[in-house]
Amino acid sequence: MADANRGTRRGFLGAAAAGAGTLLLSGCRGLSETHWFPKVLDSAEGLTKRIQRLFAGSWSLAPEYSKADLSPVFKANGTLNPGTTAYNMAAADNFRDWRIPVSGLVKNPFVMSLNDLRAFPSRTQITRHDCVEGWSCIGEWTGAPLRLILDKADPLPKARYVVFYCADPMSDNGDYYYESLDLIEACHPQTILAYEMNGQPLAIPHGAPVRLRCERQLGYKHAKYVERIELVESFAHINGGKGGYWEDQGYTWWAGI
């Protein structure tokens, strides 16, 4: 009797273990493809952001390095050349007519030329670029603190995000790269619109003529080929509605980890 009971119990434990194993292995792919489960997983993003912001606030500075630490080869990733007719023409002309409108929820919308950008007090920083894929490179960046540009534009109280529209097409469907930061990250002292890398004008593979550097975030936030800046209350109406090209492909908007 006791043995029979033990048999049933063993049977139950065995079935439970096998069931759990099968569920886990076969279920993960299926779960990933459902509509609801990634949303459950994604709920951790808000928690991660809140906790990281609790520690980092608006002030913590990304480590800065020395010239001796510069990567011998800084890997260019994503778009290496936008290759559109307009971009090719601008590049041939050394981006002399490149204009960056700053608009949206601001009191003082304006259009910046590269000379205007260079006229702002500049910041040079040697920082580490961390790609979401896992690799890191160290480069030296010179540019205008985004905070100064936003100060000039004078955001309205409703403005919450800064959206960067880029010149690189990501498909044949007319969607271009874009990214967004909230005002805390946008006004961070190391967030700059960079026009020089390692002491040279930004090269095309690295986002010429202007790219974003936001050093507390992963690489995909650092939009290259920036051609328009807009302040918005919400990015839900822009493209896929997730606040960036890679965000629309399922990557988290919070790229602090």
């Binding site: 993960c28 990281q52 480590p63 507390r216 992963l218 990557y251 980890i257």
Partner: protein, 275 residues
């Protein structure tokens, strides 16, 4: 002959935390391999010196551009690991990927989804781990059962021999963890666990801005990534030995004790002969 004794070995709290932990570790390992596959190479220092990875898993192409070989490179050595590391079969097609699709979560190359799994379960793992450590310290479980004692260290040679002969404790001795178990559990819970969390945080650019000391401790972000990976495989090594020992020392008895709490102890002949 003395009867087999049923001994209440694990409290409900320990059992629950154990299984949550087991699920988390499995998800963390498999989603971690998915993330690793996005750039299947490891480096030492702050940056990725792409020409000199410390470890690299890559696929080799023939002239027509088809993947024909999977290579594992460790330092200067290269090994043909076709089908397993560097290149493996995905829907029947040899594809360049670090680890094969049957160990990554999700199976196909899908970094964004791997990250969602990894960072969701990371929170559960950390909360669960902190709950266990707090519980174990408050209830004296750690002090009584997990911290190795001087006597444990003295008897270690004897226990290694006993383990190699697959001779497991009976009677009273079976109610305690032996020295090797204590060292294994202690290392995993109090060394490997914190280390894998801290190296994980060191990979976060935001956390590096808050605690730049982490970079100093681990010798740079890429070193931290490499240590994170070594920790993950140490966990896997622990897991494999753990399962082997569970099977060798009585699968059902062990499994029952971690599900219901009750563990059957075989009488020790020597003890009974003493009366």
């Amino acid at each position: 002959m003395t009867k087999r004794e049923l001994f209440y070995r694990h409290t409900g709290m320990v059992r629950a935390l154990h299984w949550i932990n087991a699920l988390c570790l499995l998800v963390m390992l498999m989603s971690g391999l998915q993330i690793f596959n996005a750039h299947p190479a490891l480096y030492w220092g702050q940056i990725s010196n792409f020409d000199h990875p410390f470890v690299s898993l890559f696929g080799e192409q023939d002239n027509a551009g088809h993947i024909v070989k999977g290579v594992t490179q460790i330092g200067h050595w290269q090994f043909n690991t076709t089908g397993l590391f560097g290149a493996s079969y995905e829907d029947g097609q040899l594809t360049a990927r670090g680890f094969p699709d049957w160990v990554t979560l999700p199976g196909p190359q899908w970094l964004a989804m791997g990250r969602l799994w990894h960072f969701f379960f990371a929170w559960i793992l950390v909360i669960n781990g902190l709950a266990f450590i707090t519980y174990a310290l408050v209830k004296q479980h750690a002090q009584k059962d997990l911290f190795p004692t001087r006597a444990d260290i003295r008897h270690i040679g004897r226990e290694i021999l006993d383990h190699l002969r697959l001779r497991f404790p009976k009677g009273e001795a079976a109610k305690r963890y032996n020295a090797l178990q204590k060292i294994a559990y202690f290392t995993v819970i109090f060394v490997l666990g914190p280390l894998i969390v801290l190296t994980g945080l060191t990979m976060s650019p935001t956390m590096d801005s808050v605690f730049p000391g982490l970079l100093w401790v681990f010798g740079g972000r890429q070193s931290a990534r490499t240590i994170h990976f070594i920790c993950a495989f140490s966990f896997l090594g622990f897991f494999i030995i753990h399962i082997v020992m569970v099977v060798l020392s009585g699968t059902w008895n062990n499994l029952r004790s971690m599900i219901t709490g009750w563990y059957a102890i075989e009488p020790d002949e020597k003890e009974t002969s003493h009366g």
